[in-house]
């Protein structure tokens, strides 16, 4: 079995549009949450959202490449440009090597709405134009980026609800371990627009702390009242250890274990056993026990039940070693399809810059969340290994263990 390492990362998020900005935001505990008046006018229960400006790619990508890209594809393009540069992978390398792409994405709502609106108005499919089909499919990110960057390896999208990005990295890891691929561009993308979150808002799952947008996402806090939707894109370059050494690449971390499970219960209510199983499998795959983990990037989205169940699950496994825990969603909001990938980027940045980012807005834990060793402030820390959780609708769970390379 080959070892799998991270040799590049890129990020376009609501707390920064590149690795440097994001690292600073994580360190400073900066929130990327706003009140979006458009959502209120549309009839949303909660107008809170993470927000980042839409990239301008005219002059960077030609028209054919641009018109097939939905907004999350634009985010993913920029994250991938940064990640490939960060990894030192250029066009010449991609010409000689079959680089793959596995991206997490689970919707592309806005192009579907817009194209059907045109049809309803014009009553003629020919008036929809050529771009919307490529924007509308779930596989939009992997299909577009594979053409733009000329990838010739594995090429598909992983849709696993709010664990999509994490599963993409997990499956990419397995392919490289098996020796089937040397380099895979993994990641997760999430569109930011009201159209994609309206039906989610209908579930009463979003925070309504609209008077204090930056305090609304408060994972593990006693007064948490729901999640805040968000988005962007994160790219992680996975590579076999041998390939990375051969290229002289800087190794940012090793993906040591991927654990997964399915709750097999409720469509939206999380449980304890599923996450426990995923975390245990990730540790087993990494050949580590709980005491080897110095930091847990929790899935915790700021919902009452989800955070409670995850806290119980973490406590079950890590109750003795009590590693530092934080949910970066306190700053970013819930990046959904992107979150599993972005949180690997966030945690790897922390590991390489020797700190744990704060779980902001945690003022008072409740009886259960108080069992965890939650970092409420930026904490200097030598992270030897971290575990990142991602859970999604349908009871899909993914846990990844990433550690510093040890030669």
């Amino acid at each position: 079995m080959k070892r799998v390492v991270i040799t590049g990362m890129g990020i376009y998020s609501v707390i920064g549009k590149n690795l440097g900005e994001v690292k600073n935001s994580l360190y400073e505990g900066k929130s990327g949450i706003i009140f979006d008046p458009v959502r209120k006018e549309m009839g949303f229960r909660s107008a809170l959202t993470g927000m980042v400006e839409r990239p301008v790619l005219k002059g960077i990508l030609d028209r054919r490449m641009r018109i097939g890209l939905p907004v999350q594809g634009e985010y993913a393009y920029l994250a991938t440009v940064e990640a490939l540069k960060n990894a030192g992978i250029d066009a010449a390398f991609m010409e000689k090597n079959a680089v793959g792409i596995l991206y997490g994405n689970d919707s592309s709502a806005l192009p579907v709405v817009e194209s059907v609106d045109i049809l309803r108005k014009k009553k003629d499919t020919m008036m929809i134009g050529s771009g919307y089909i490529f924007q509308s499919m779930n596989s939009t990110v992997s299909m577009n980026l594979s053409v733009i960057f000329k990838f010739r390896g594995i090429n598909f999208t992983i849709s696993g609800a709010c664990a999509s990005g994490s599963h993409a990295i997990g499956i990419g890891t397995l392919l490289i371990r098996q020796g089937l691929q040397e380099v895979i561009v993994c990641g997760g993308a999430q569109e930011i627009n009201p159209e994609s979150t309206a039906s989610f808002d209908a579930l009463n799952a979003f925070s309504i702390r609209e008077s204090e947008p930056q305090k609304a996402s408060r994972p593990f806090d006693r007064d948490r009242d729901g999640l805040v939707p968000s988005g962007g894109a994160a790219t992680v370059i996975l590579e076999s250890y041998e390939s990375a050494v051969r290229r002289g690449a800087t190794i940012l971390g090793e993906v040591a274990g991927y654990g997964f499970s399915s709750n097999g219960e409720h469509i939206s209510l999380p449980n304890v056993d599923g996450p426990v199983a995923a975390m245990q499998l990730s540790l087993k795959e990494a050949g580590m026990d709980a005491s080897g983990i110095d930091y847990i990037n929790a899935h915790a989205t700021s919902t009452p039940t989800g955070d409670e169940n995850e806290a119980i699950a973490i406590d079950q496994i890590f109750g003795k070693s009590r590693p530092l825990v934080s949910s970066t969603k306190s700053m970013t909001g819930h990046e959904m399809w992107m979150g599993g990938a972005s949180e690997i980027v966030y945690s790897t940045l922390m590991m390489n810059h020797h700190f744990v980012a704060p779980n902001i807005n945690l003022e008072n834990p409740d009886e259960i969340t108080a069992r965890l060793n939650i970092a409420t402030r930026t904490t200097p820390c030598e992270i030897r290994a971290f575990l990142s959780n991602s859970f999604g609708f349908g009871g899909t769970n993914s846990s990844l263990v990433v550690r510093k390379i040890n030669g």
């Binding site: 030609d62 054919r64 003629d124 020919m126 008036m127």
Partner: protein, 82 residues
């Protein structure tokens, strides 16, 4: 609309909407080989032409259109027959 005005408008749309290099625009230019207009771009031309000239292009009429000049002639005919 005068023919010259139609041609000028078509050229402007090709440059602005399809992002064809202005230097490539000439009546003798082959739409595919010289201007790089592929089957997907033709789909967008349908939308652009209807929005700007008010008629629907038909896919079956496109098979004879090879050069930009053929396209000018086609649009001029359709504009005047409307």
């Amino acid at each position: 609309m005068q023919n010259e005005e139609i041609i000028k408008r078509i050229n402007q749309l090709l440059i602005e909407e399809i992002e064809i290099d202005e230097a490539q625009i000439s009546p003798a230019a082959d739409l595919k080989k010289d201007l790089g207009i592929d089957s997907l771009d033709f789909v967008d031309l349908f939308v652009i032409i209807e929005n700007n000239f008010g008629f629907k292009m038909k896919a079956e009429e496109m098979s004879d259109i090879k050069k930009l000049d053929d396209f000018y002639t086609y649009v001029i005919r359709r504009v005047h027959s409307n």
